[in-house]
Symmetry: D2
């Protein structure tokens, strides 16, 4: 008789159901993870609200190797019992993107191209256990796995993937370092991760912006190390950045606000001549009366940024392992597996108030 | 009695007048250039049409050192009789921009900040001889000078500054090299220079676009080495680029068209995922219904590009010195100094037809 | 009854034997290549001379897909009948090196770490057909495959892997471009490939060096586009480079000579201040009285370079596909499969004279 | 009657003499600095011991603008009374090196090429006041000046130039950032500055090495933030680095030891595959039995590093201004101007014991 796992299967729009599922038989190149904690991401909320097929959501997954084949053990450099942080990607490893170090662009891991990834794979794909809201998860032969030291607190470990984006965008793409002025628009999980990564990379001045509704998060940004916060509902951002920097303005600006075109426009304004503006979020709306000449006049660089690389996840693992930053203060809401619906609603702003970080633990 | 020079002084809007002017006394750190040829630039036309103060226009200047002080000779590494190509910039050499290798951003060389540069300095600034439409030009202590071999034909030498932009944008900023697909929107002097520089840097495929009105220039682009040209008045650019590249699309796109927002939009379309789009011209108009999400979705890089560096001018000097490209076919109209007005009108599209390259030689 | 292939199996030191072998059954993620031509590499000669176990040598392999599984077809983007160029590497795709774009460092493809690669895998590893001196070769699920147009002549296609090293070292690592002076020490296959790649990337001046014994190859270097050659048996290299470059010296120098410490020392000498010296060959001997302070005094960069990346092989494929360079003049000796021993001896300098490029075609 | 200054003029080998000198008349493009403190550098000691001509030594200079011409004020962006940190370089601003952002290579600022710089210019060059061991110093039109906030303690400000080297080598050249392992060989002023800069840039692990004789400095390194120190007189460095990094070894290694070839050899050993080794000090001796193949085998990058850029000095200014590191603990010996000889002997290891940082203040 095979072993079982409980999982919170999203079976309908905005609805999960605890189901008992079989653990699969494992080939030499695969494994099974015993889940320790899973962070809830905005993408999970989006899938939850627009569910097309039953699936197990959740992809910021931390756990321990429960079973592992010999070949997988060798490739991934881990053995049963090891604690690991998972990436959401399941890339083929053999296509042009994979061969070039950009596996996050591999079609095999892009659900909209028929690929699969953790937290976004239908139950119809065997062995179904492709999501973190569960006690166990399948380790696909193409999974991307990072070893994690035992001493890192669970809730800090759950931040590894958001932090990976922060390191990818701030350090690897943005090349932030000592002396730099960085403006981060949007104090959500991505924005706070960027603030942490920018400070960790030596940024001189980190300024986080938010509106009236996000004052609690701006406060948290300051506790996490941001040098300044600006309330864009009441303050003139350009003026504030000019004051703070003695007119130097920002070397790097990132827009990770969920909505509106205004943050993009103010990002272009506060960037210095030869500065860089990163676009880290879809706007889903058209720009009207948009003056593109500012890019030419200030010879700005604008870059769209999405996802992380092996290197940036590794930076995030080492960052949380170092214990240098007070990450635990980001933890606000931890739920048990049987409360996955509440966790998802809270992360989406429809559940308990002030969701800074929402996690689910595999208890019923 | 001091020596004299004839110069075509722009004294009023769209009007130059031949004047006899004194050659200045030269300190140890300065010099005088005997002009050989000067290329007419779009910027000259713009100053000509909107003249605020009398000045000598012309800044794509080739000549020979006529007089030079000891200190200048040592600094610039040239002596009397040497043939040189001039940059238009007269940067201080001591400010933050100058100290960082970006002297093109030095306030001292920006006329709109009260600075001076060749071809854009009022007669009231001593010793007045700051323009190329003249027999002699003042070599300011802060002039930027490149030695030029004797064998280079004058009309090819007159292309050095446009080519410098081409090398700066294609090679130094765009990092074009073997295997790359480059799309150049706009077959003017800048676009053709970009095409030459991209091919010189090893680009696999160079595609130049233009409208019905610029078919002669597209033909010239092909003669200069462009692999394909596309008439955007009648062809679908995205479809053509997809055909030409087997769906790979463009690694680098540059918009150097003088007008319209459409070329920017099609540039974003033909760039591949992780591709780069350079904006090399002011649009002077707002974008309506602009979809910025394409930058995020394809993780594009957009960059404003302006002017050249010491390195790119040096590349251009070596390029014309190599004689590898049939640059002389770009020459279409050479005028004598007393025809400077006609030269400027032709370059502006109001004189003789099909101005591909307009030059002025210092003969009366 | 299974299909068969003839292969020249290296069964003893300096000895190959034609054997008839079975073609394997192919899973969904693998395939079989029908070989068209294989270039002989110095590494093949080295294995041939020091054979430890029976194996099929040969890894510069060009052929057509003979059989292919569905999954492999999708991953590699090729189908039966397609012409392809093979890399020698068979990397796992899942380890840290693979995930970072450096699959050439994957332990799975390093024979000295127990890994396998084409041309260096014992017959005892199933299905044995891991070498190019054969009519058919096994396409392992982890093979790295590049599509190749039909019009490229076979002997030019056989140069793709050496050219890949040239593009990796000159363009990707050395960043060669317009205006650069490049000195290439050693006119063997690697050196000539570097010369071609440097010119393709726009190098202004390419200087290839060799000794008395390699005058024929220096001549070939000039025919392939090198601007200068220097006979280091009779000429002072530093003096010659100074003359050629007007004292500027070399931006980039590479040592791909097979022996001796002198080329390294002269490479450091001819590099300009802030120049780069690439070390592309093992010396297998110690340096005596070595003055390292030249690296500090001229703030040089020294880099060891080995192998190629996906990007550089792609550049090489596009380079040979463009037909821009007279590559066919490199072809000197083509052998049939039953003459594999002669081919290997010739490539090693013990067979027919002046081996510039040695290839084997799958005829008996 | 002109104003006067006291200065400690080095008039003979290992001998300075307090002299009263005239302050010069200042043109529009120059100025005079009132000195606040000057740090003693190893270069000062070297000049002191090998004096060829009388000169005022000292070039790590902090002070306030005492007089300044209008033109200089505009270029440098400072006015009388402003506090500034000086670079030692006095570059022309107009040569190829200056135009390319590498003014530290300008011949005008290289004494061995007949140039001048602070702390290394004979009294015979007008107006003689080119050194920091004085009450006032001449601000040459080509001086490189950085504004400094008032709140920075003098002794910390005196560290700006050594820290600039640290930032240049660790961040700008070495690209140190989050996750990196850095080994610094030699705990002198340069080594400690590298340790500080590496940590400021986010290095995960900084390991500083020294011999028995430098245990006090290793202790200081730990207080300044180094994660580990290794006594190379008694410990096996490779073994220690392997232990500390779990076999990962070092991303970046720098040798700033004053003597011996062994640190270079161990640097190559502890660098990881694809790692970088910086050579930051002259060895002044030949290497015997040197195995260069390690560079090829591990595809290492070796770079000579010397001096700083405008950007790195600016990083150092912002670093000391931030007050984030306990720099004041580096201060060990402060002398008055009349004790300049003792200061120089101490810095050279011949005066008071344990010189970690030696400074001179302009009091008699």
């Amino acid at each position: 008789m095979s072993e079982k796992t409980w999982a919170a299967v999203a079976t309908d729009v905005k609805y999960t159901e605890i189901q008992e599922l079989d653990l699969p038989y494992i080939e030499s190149d695969a494994g099974i993870l015993k889940i320790e904690i899973v962070g809830v991401c905005g993408t999970d909320v989006s899938y939850y609200r627009n569910l097309k097929e039953p699936m197990i959501l959740g992809h910021h997954v931390i756990g321990r190797i429960y079973k592992i084949g010999d070949s997988a053990s060798k490739r991934w450099g881990v053995k049963a019992g090891d604690r690991v942080a998972m990436e959401e990607y399941i890339p083929c490893g053999q296509c042009t993107s994979c061969r070039s170090g950009f596996y996050r662009l591999c079609p095999d891991t892009n659900p909209s191209l028929g690929g699969i990834r953790y937290g976004a794979t239908p139950m119809s794909v065997n062995p179904a256990l492709y999501g973190g809201f569960s006690q166990y998860m399948y380790l696909h032969p193409n999974a991307v796995i990072h070893k994690l030291p035992d001493h890192v607190p669970s809730v800090e470990a759950a931040l590894i993937l958001p932090l990976s984006n922060g390191f990818e965008w701030m350090r690897i793409i943005g090349d932030v370092g000592p002396g730099d002025v960085v403006v981060i628009q949007g104090p959500g999980q991505q924005g706070l991760a960027c603030a942490l990564a920018a400070k960790a990379a030596g940024a001189e001045t980190v300024i986080v912006t938010g509106r009236n509704s996000s004052q609690k998060r701006l406060e948290l940004a300051r506790e996490l190390g941001a040098d300044y916060t600006v309330n864009t509902s009441s303050e003139d951002l350009s003026k504030r950045v000019a004051e703070i920097t003695n007119g130097k303005m920002a070397d790097l600006v990132i827009d990770v606000t969920s909505g509106g075109t205004q943050p993009v426009i103010s990002s272009l304004e506060v960037a210095k001549t030869r500065g860089t503006v990163l676009l880290g979020a879809l706007k889903n709306q058209l720009f009207h009366e948009f003056d593109l000449d500012i890019i030419y006049n200030k010879t700005l660089t604008i870059k769209g940024v999405r996802g992380h690389s092996y290197q940036s996840v590794q930076m995030a693992v080492e960052f949380v392992s170092s214990g240098k930053f007070p990450l635990s203060i980001m933890n606000s809401h931890n739920y048990k597996l049987s409360d996955t619906d509440l966790a998802l609603r809270t992360a989406g702003g429809e559940g308990e108030p002030f969701p800074l970080l929402v996690t689910v633990s595999p208890w019923l």
